[in-house]
Amino acid sequence: MNDISKKSAEGGFSTVGAVAALLVLAALYAFPSFVESPYALHMMILLFLSTIMGESWNIIGGYTGQYSVGHAAYFGAGAYGTLILLQKWEIAPWKGVWAGIAAALVLSLVIGSICFRLRGPYFVLASIAVAEIVRLTVLNTPSVTNGAEGILLSDLPPFKIGETVITDFVSKVPFYYIGLTLALLTILATWGVQNSKLGYFFQAIREDQDAAHSLGINLSLYKNIALALSAMMTSLAGAFYAIYIKFIDPTTVLPLDLSVQIVLIAIIGGIGTIFGPVIGSLVLVPLSEALRSNLIAQGLINSGLVKEDSGLGVFLKEHLAHAHVLIYGILVVVVILFMPDGVIGFVRKMSARKR
């Protein structure tokens, strides 16, 4: 009973679902024609970026059950690969990104061959250690990576096909469309994985490694495929981040915090579901942006709960913005304790109870 309702919600397309999806898609593509506010576009771009990261992690963590807490390494590989080629040899990012993806692929195969001999918590620890080694290496080889100073992108070349300039990247609109397209592609890729034989192998490994092994599934081969896919998609997010923000350094694209945030996007929404990371992004991005831009402190003051000139008001205004990661911590604790299957699992459980 439960299985059937799950199937129709995830696998097959109902007419209503298809129409709704098309409407959302059309609205998303039309969005920049109606909204000109750069801040709104920026928020949407962050949402797309977060979705790409969450969906990518979902393939190895959600579908294959291997909790990598080192995905910052792949994000950084994409970001550094693209920007180094662009700054040093003026290779356009849409070509350079392939180098970033290749770097992430090589890295994932090295990491996979080391870490997949380990299981459970040991795999988590190993993935962290490898990502830290990557971060420290980037930090300590300034001749290639500019070390702690980071790379500032001064000039992004216009995107041309032949001689026609498609876009010169002056406004945020081209980034919006790149982000949207990449996010849709990763969602599509996740859907493809979920409904393919490959995806069944992944899920069999997640459910019971030994049982999967005894049925003839080559554990290390399929874990490596899952990690490679996930790593390449994550590096795409890193490359997109790099050309959008135009500045990268080891503390923004390679820290442990980033690895943790990538995991949380999927966990909060619901791991192993197609739209979990989308939901996770919809929860996390607005909340952490609201904290970062002091909206919450201002809101508390405006609502009259806290007086602006009182000690608490001054304190909140000065410090709450720095603590936007706090929200990640609180959310993950709440999610793990009260809804371990994420928002999607929680909603499903509630609706099942009503029935």
Binding site: P121, L136, G329
Partner: protein, 290 residues
């Protein structure tokens, strides 16, 4: 590298290794009793550092004396964390346990940032940069003091776990939770005790290094990683192993910084960590749990 430089770095490695051992012991006790890897360990240590800092600046309590206050307070803090959060997820997926402790760590470090700002604080005592001379070798006074305290605390803890009834009950819970429960041991109380002791150890380590380290809200994550390396190296769940692991990592860092460069010493530590995970995942003194 001359012999005296080598000896110098070897000795300071052993001294700082003592404090590392304390952090590792806390982690390993928690893991042993609950099978939970505590990712908030470094952040708990950071709380100990701030506690020491404010006891010193506000009430002029010497950092090494203040551990008498730090230990019980941190014990209560740990017991509270266990009772309210960790206790609910014992026996669930290890990944969820890891994520919960990661979340707790983020909450602790970011709350500290709200409370104390992200400024670096320095606790300067009259002896912070003092040292003994031993021929050509100079030995830091605060590190020596902290090493001696570490040895005493470790010895007391060892005695407690080996000789007292409660200690034996904790070890029994670590060995086999179900069997211990069947023997009438209150395992959830033992878990609370274990987490309290673990937090107290981490807090003490924080107190002991506060005269020689910068104090800031994010200091924890580096120590959390170090604590993992130490406990995996020694063998998850083994106290003697964690002590040994702490000293080894202290020496590797200190000698590695001189022999290679201080930029690459952490890479060296992580490389050793991976090597141990691959070659002997049960650690130097642990039984295989994989």
């Amino acid at each position: 590298m001359t012999l005296s430089v080598f000896l110098q770095s070897l000795i300071s490695g052993i001294l700082i290794g003592g404090v590392y051992a304390l952090i590792g012991i806390g982690l390993t006790i928690i893991f042993g009793v609950m099978r939970v890897i505590n990712f908030a360990h470094g952040d708990i240590m950071m709380v100990g550092m701030y506690l020491t800092f404010y006891l010193f600046t506000l009430f002029h309590v010497d950092p090494f004396v203040s551990i008498v206050i730090t230990i019980p307070l941190m014990f209560l803090f740990g017991a509270f964390l266990q009772k309210v959060f960790i206790n609910r997820i014992i026996g669930t997926l290890p990944q969820n346990q890891i994520l919960l402790t990661i979340g707790l760590g983020l909450i602790i470090s970011n709350s500290a940032m709200l409370a104390f700002t992200s400024d670096y604080k320095i606790l300067t005592t009259s002896y912070s940069s003092g040292s003994f001379k031993l021929g050509e070798i100079s030995i830091s006074q605060p590190l020596t003091a902290s090493f001696i305290i570490t040895v005493v605390i470790t010895a007391i803890l060892y005695w407690f776990l080996m000789k007292t009834d409660t200690g034996q009950a904790i070890r029994a819970t670590a060995q086999d939770r179900e069997a211990a429960q069947l023997m009438g041991i209150n395992v959830s109380r033992m878990s609370m005790l274990a987490f309290g002791i673990g937090a107290a150890m981490a807090g003490t380590a924080g107190a002991l290094i506060s005269p020689t380290y910068y104090i800031f809200p994010q200091v924890g994550s580096a120590f959390t990683l170090k604590a993992f390396v130490i406990t995996v190296l020694g063998g998850m769940g083994s106290i003697v192993g964690a002590t040994l692991g702490g000293i080894i990592i202290g020496i590797v860092e200190s000698v590695g910084a001189v022999a290679i460069s201080s930029d690459w010493k952490d890479v060296l530590v992580f490389a050793i960590f991976l090597l141990v995970l691959l070659v002997k995942p049960s650690g130097l003194l642990g039984r295989s749990r994989m």
